[in-house]
């Protein structure tokens, strides 16, 4: 059992690693070596507690744990492991003085890891580079140590080699953390400034926040001011994660722990928030706070219309734990009542949707993901449009601008052509190409976000056999020739299928979705034209020919009962259809037509 070392020198660090490079295994090994968790109670990947995280092998919510090593107190601050959560990463890094850069010795550094490393360098954090999995036969520690030297300018002799799996080199790593990472500074007598770098909602305790004290002391029982959200709250409990939750009376400068302050909504205690004392407040909050803005939007609708109240409740509950999700009621002519939801990125969207279905037992239809466009109308009015249905008629639009990304792809150089083809086909323009080594290249592109939120990542992975990695950063807006493509079913527009796309992409989109709908919509009693249109102009058309035969031929041995039941079943089936004008569309058709991975 780790004991609290009052007054012991402190080291605060994060582990930066690509998915699968062994961060969780290393965390587990550190907990074991320092005696924080006894071996027999070890659950593999102790820190990844959310079911979904364990399944996907990624960390969504940051955790932290305090351990002791050679008379020092170490705070291991976990960072979220996905590109959608870049802001959260930056706040976690703000709680540290150093990072362990963990790189798979058989794969080398990946794009997002590199991006996070740059982030750490910009924040003047000390980097302790580590090559992991040296027990693997495919490990090439020398090659990748020199890659680290070339890319990050860290002498390759400083790169440690470990196997988190076997434990080899992990003690030396802990020693290096103490030697190389500077202790935190901070004034215990200054007004309190504590950084919140993660909050989650606990149904018994309310919001539990992870905090790092920068200056002053955070004490149980104090009245606190949350400087950005503006709330005043009573500090109900402060404590440490050893990793077992352990209340304490105060946290001093450099210390990391948790805070419970009777807050019911994580939006009141967001990552990046500065907590100060209500009685003797600090003059200014800590730098770096940002209001995370949703970048990707979609409509979420219950498959069964009567689950709408359940969906509302589920979203409200989910938001208690994830303030970056936004939602507001929306009505679709095709799908009925639902919500327009905003997400940090595509993975975030998928996670939220999956959680809604899994944790709340809902069955949902998600409309095609959209980004937020900036529209200037002819009478010089500016608006933001994240739902294609809200776009003004083409005749009234002076300009539409779309959000852009700078995208960085790290790939073995053999796939350079494949990556460039993909980026070109997504309206990308290359900004730079740098060789990290003769075998590996970093390619940078400017790409519209809308082109990345569809299936860019999947395409990238499949075209590079999984070797390429991706990072992105937001890069403002750019005016483009964008149009709304409407889909008409029997001449009625179906709002759920409308999409804003580049003029050059309108025809392929229209053709693809009309063809798909023609497959999915069952034949009706009349011909059903399925059209894609820009404004009044039809750009693609398919027809579902009228059904000609639907009749039961005979009855065997006087079995009228079976005939009647077949008709009853057919009648029931009609109830699971949504009527778009006169056309009956099965719910499954919406689900399939709107599925992302097509």
């Amino acid at each position: 059992m780790a004991v609290r070392r009052e007054g012991a020198p402190i080291r605060n660090f994060s582990i930066i690693a690509h998915i699968d490079h062994g961060k969780s295994t290393l965390s587990d090994r550190i907990l074991e070596l320092t005696g924080a968790v006894e071996e027999r109670s070890m659950r593999a990947q102790y820190l990844d507690s959310m079911e979904l995280e364990r399944e996907r092998g990624i960390t969504i919510k940051a955790q932290n744990v305090r351990v002791g090593w050679r008379a020092h107190t170490l705070h291991l601050i976990d960072t979220p492991g996905h590109v959608d959560f870049g802001y959260e990463v930056s706040r976690s890094l703000a709680a540290c003085e150093g990072v362990v850069l963990l790189v798979d010795a058989a794969q080398g550094i990946e794009a997002q890891t590199l991006a996070n490393c740059y982030l750490a360098l910009e924040s003047d954090l000390t980097i302790v580079p580590v090559l992991n999995k040296i027990d693997l036969p495919a490990a090439e520690p020398d090659l990748y140590a020199s890659e680290i030297e070339r890319v990050l300018g860290i002498d390759s002799s400083e790169v440690l080699a470990i196997s988190a799996k076997t434990g080899e080199g992990v003690e030396a790593l802990l020693d290096a953390i103490i030697e190389r990472i500077p202790p935190p500074d901070g004034d215990p007598h200054a007004p309190l400034q504590a950084l919140i770098f993660d909050s989650h909602f606990d149904q018994y305790r309310g919001v539990v926040s992870s905090v790092r004290v920068m200056n002053g002391r955070l004490c149980a029982g104090d009245r606190l001011r949350f400087m950005h959200a503006g709330g005043l709250h009573l500090s109900e409990e402060v404590g440490l994660r050893l990793p077992a939750v352990t209340p304490t009376d105060a946290l001093g400068p450099g210390e990391v722990g948790y805070l419970i302050a009777g807050i019911k909504d994580v939006a009141e205690a967001r990552s990046g928030e500065t907590v100060t004392s209500a009685a003797a407040p600090a003059d200014v909050p800590l730098a770096g706070y940002d209001d995370p803005k949703p970048m990707v939007f979609c409509g979420l609708y219950p498959v069964e219309g009567d689950e709408y109240p359940d969906l509302r409740e589920a979203l409200a509950k989910l938001r208690l734990n994830d303030a970056s999700v936004t939602f507001e009621p929306e009505t679709s002519g095709a799908l009925g009542f639902g919500f327009r939801c905003g997400f940090l990125g595509l993975l975030h969207m998928e996670i939220v949707r999956e959680r809604l279905e899994r944790e709340f037992g809902l069955s949902l239809i998600a409309t095609a993901p959209s980004v937020a466009y900036r529209v200037r109308t002819d009478d010089d009015e500016e608006m933001q449009v994240d739902n294609p249905s809200d776009l003004p008629p083409a005749g009234q639009i002076a300009e539409i601008a779309e959000p852009m990304l700078t995208v960085s792809v790290l790939t073995p150089s053999t796939y350079t052509g494949a990556v460039m083809d993909l980026c070109q086909s997504r309206r990308g323009s290359m900004t730079s190409m740098d060789y990290l080594s003769p075998e590996r290249v970093e390619i940078r592109y400017e790409l519209p976000l809308a082109e990345v939120v569809t299936d860019f990542f999947d395409q990238l992975k499949s075209r590079t056999q999984g070797y390429a990695s991706l990072d992105y950063d937001h890069a403002g807006y750019r005016a483009e020739r964008l149009v709304r493509v409407d889909i008409l079913l029997n001449s009625e527009p179906v709002d759920a299928f409308s999409a804003i796309c580049h003029r050059d992409g309108a025809y392929p989109y229209g053709k693809a979705i009309t063809a798909k709908l023609a497959e999915l919509i069952p034949r009706q009693l009349f011909d059903v034209p399925i059209q894609a249109a820009i404004g009044g102009r039809i750009i693609a058309r398919e027809t579902v020919k009228a059904k000609r035969k639907d009749v039961l031929s005979k009855c065997y041995g006087g079995d009228i009962t079976r005939k009647r039941k077949l008709l009853e079943r057919q009648k029931e089936g009609k109830k699971r259809m949504k009527a778009i004008g006169r056309v009956e569309v099965p719910n499954e058709a919406f689900v399939s037509a709107l599925r992302l991975d097509q």
């Binding site: 000609r548 035969k549 639907d550 039961l552 009228i560 009647r564 008709l567 057919q570």
Partner: protein, 363 residues
């Protein structure tokens, strides 16, 4: 024979003969090719059941021996069942026959028992279509069977046809229709091939019929048969005037009938019930003096009225006009008396119309 006096309502008896020499690829009904050793016991059980049920029966206006292959068993065994029933004067008595088992002697024996209607399972006049259906007889056998029926003096003849096999071209089907009409039957049934799960046909999607082709074939049948003087009186049935199958009409008119044998269905006053599926269980139940009923359902008044409408929709009687919603009314035409009946195209979409019917206002 009992005289119905022309006033009592029709009452039918269906007797199921579940034995076959060969199972057709599309058949999902209760039939067996390996139980011929049961025939004696089975038919004796049918006779006993007929005797027990006869006491509660009104005069029987139609009897239908169906299968399976009823002409696989000795005619006298069918006669034993008939002898137990209180037949009305002029009752329609049909035996379903497989053409390749028909002999002149067999037909003469039927005639002697009072059988006055033979239904032949012709299916197709085209050898490669018969192959594709998994049928064994050759077309020439059909002509011989028809001659045998006629020679025996059995007055009514039906030919059963099946259309829709992907192996069957539209000209193939036309040839079947022409040859069937040339045989001069009084009645023709044309059934669309239906892939039933669990049958060799059902399990082989490459042999499933194309719905549009089926529609074309149905319309061709309707046109050809009408041109030859046959009137459609139910979706799959055409007859010369006066030669409608009374037993068949009972089903569509929500009439009363008793089922004899395994897997046979019965209907009396809104109660529908059916017997155990296998011949073994049927024989066991009858010999143990137990009920062979395997299941039943009782329809409420509204359900009965809805069912009556759905069944009547299939016939040329049609349904009251106010039961038909606007979105399908183009599929029907006047049938007289404020009723509408399905057009030929409408008959092809009978299910779509049936599920949309509303209960008409009370008269």
């Amino acid at each position: 024979m009992t005289d119905t006096g022309g006033t009592s309502p029709p009452f039918g008896v269906y007797c199921h003969v579940p034995f076959c020499t060969h199972r057709c690829d599309y058949c999902a009904f209760a039939t067996w090719t390996d139980r011929s050793h049961l025939i004696g016991d089975y038919m004796a059980s049918c006779r006993q059941q007929a005797r027990e049920l006869a006491a509660g029966m009104p005069p029987v206006t139609s009897v239908f021996f169906g299968g399976g292959t009823p002409n696989l068993v000795q005619p006298s065994l069918l006669g034993d069942v008939l002898a137990e029933l209180p037949l009305a004067r002029g009752a329609e008595i049909t035996v379903e026959c497989n053409p390749d088992l028909v002999t002149p002697e067999q037909m003469q024996a039927y005639r002697a028992l009072g059988v006055n209607r033979i239904s032949l399972g012709v299916q197709s006049a085209v050898p490669h279509v018969l192959d594709a259906l998994g049928r064994r007889h050759d077309p020439p056998m059909v002509a011989g069977a028809v001659d045998a029926v006629r020679l025996a003096g059995i007055g009514q003849l039906n030919l059963d046809l099946i259309y829709g096999s992907p192996a069957e071209s539209l000209p193939d089907w036309e040839r079947t229709l022409v040859e069937a009409v040339d045989l001069g039957p009084d009645h023709l049934s044309a059934y669309g091939l239906t892939p039933e799960p669990g049958t060799p046909l059902g399990d082989d999607p490459s042999r499933h019929p194309d719905e549009d082709e089926m529609a074309d074939k149905y319309l061709l049948a309707d046109e050809r048969l009408a041109g030859a003087g046959y009137e459609t009186y139910e979706i799959s049935n055409w007859a010369r005037p006066g030669a409608q199958c009374r037993h068949n009409l009972l089903y569509w008119q929500q009439g009363a009938y008793a089922g004899i044998g395994c897997a046979a269905h019965s209907h009396r006053d809104g109660r529908r019930f059916w017997s155990v599926r296998t011949p073994e269980r049927f024989i066991a139940a009858i010999s143990a003096d137990a009920s062979p009923v395997a299941g039943s359902e009782e329809l409420g008044p509204d359900e009965r009225r809805a069912e009556a409408l759905q069944l009547a929709l299939r016939t040329s009687d049609g349904v009251p006009a106010d039961a038909v919603p606007d979105d399908v009314v183009h599929l029907l035409e006047p049938a007289g008396g404020g009723r509408l009946k399905l057009t030929a195209r409408g008959r092809l979409l009978a299910n779509e119309v049936a599920v949309r019917l509303g209960l008409p206002s009370e008269q």
